[in-house]
């Protein structure tokens, strides 16, 4: 019988690789298929961790419902290939993500989160848990703000160029 620990590790690695493929495939249909594989791998991980309720709801909503929506959108937009690629944008994004993920993994290992959860929660521990959530939310808001800002400046530059041409 296969050891459960090895199975969980394998499923985790499959989930990460499938997520990377979903982002990097040029063919959007293959991206959607990779997303389904990632959802199924996470479903397996959650089932092995005995998080049954969430595992089933996750695979029904994200693995089933949203996948059908993605397939519909890819089919309706008739652009099955993603041709856009910018080296500058990719490098900046990679550096930013590497720094953020590195800091998070360092924090998780450094502060030994296993000792926080499961024990009696004092004020300091509660703050630590909340801080983790707040930091993640902050990153999402920061990324969204940067994205909107970049779009705004790009549009301004376009307008300036059009004006100078006229």
């Amino acid at each position: 019988m296969v050891d459960l620990t090895i199975m969980i590790y394998v499923l985790m690695i499959i989930a990460i690789i499938a997520a990377i493929f979903a982002i990097e495939y040029k063919n959007l249909m293959l991206s959607v298929v990779s997303l389904v594989v990632m959802n199924l791998a996470i479903w397996g991980v959650l089932l092995l961790f005995e998080v049954t309720l969430f595992a089933w709801i996750q695979v029904i909503v994200f693995g089933g419902g949203l996948t059908s929506l993605f397939i519909t959108v890819v089919a309706l937009t008739e652009r099955h290939k993603d041709e856009t690629f910018s080296w500058k944008r990719t490098v900046i994004a990679f550096v930013a993500v590497a720094i953020i993920v590195g800091i998070f993994i360092w924090v998780i290992i450094q502060y030994d989160i296993t000792s926080i959860t499961g024990t009696i929660i004092g004020f300091g521990d509660l703050w630590d848990e909340r801080a983790t959530d707040i930091i993640l939310q902050g990153i999402i808001f920061f990324a969204t703000t940067v994205g909107i800002g970049v779009l705004f400046f790009h549009q301004k530059k376009k307008k300036l160029k059009e004006k100078t041409k006229v």
């Binding site: 979903a22 982002i23 961790f49 909503v61 993603d82 993920v101 959860t117 999402i140 994205g147």
Partner: protein, 106 residues
């Protein structure tokens, strides 16, 4: 023995992949895929931090699954809205590029 730290690290890596899609891609469908991956990662963090450590090992409590389910429902609604905007934009601009999204205001 696998505990919640592994689940946390998996979640952080998935969050990084989603963030990379959000920052590095200009195709809106891929950006939405990145947001979906980020939502899944945050739900995994919720699950991992709701662990109850007992003498027999880690126990993922039922209460810890309630918040992720709510988050998942909200995430699904957000994704559906995003995909609707993509189709709407495609009808106007004939493009799924985020740089062309400014045509929505016309």
């Amino acid at each position: 023995m696998i505990d919640q730290v592994h689940l946390l690290i998996l979640a952080v890596i998935l969050f990084g992949v989603g963030l990379f899609a959000l920052l590095g891609e200009s195709n809106v469908i891929k950006i939405l895929m990145g947001i979906e991956i980020m939502i899944i990662a945050i739900n995994l963090i919720f699950i991992a931090l709701g662990t109850e450590i007992t003498a027999e090992g880690n126990k993922f409590t039922a209460l810890a699954q309630v918040f992720p389910v709510i988050s998942l429902a909200i995430g699904a609604a957000v994704m559906a809205l995003g995909l609707a905007i993509v189709i709407n934009n495609y009808r106007h601009a004939k493009s799924v590029d985020s740089d062309e999204m400014s045509t929505l205001k016309r």
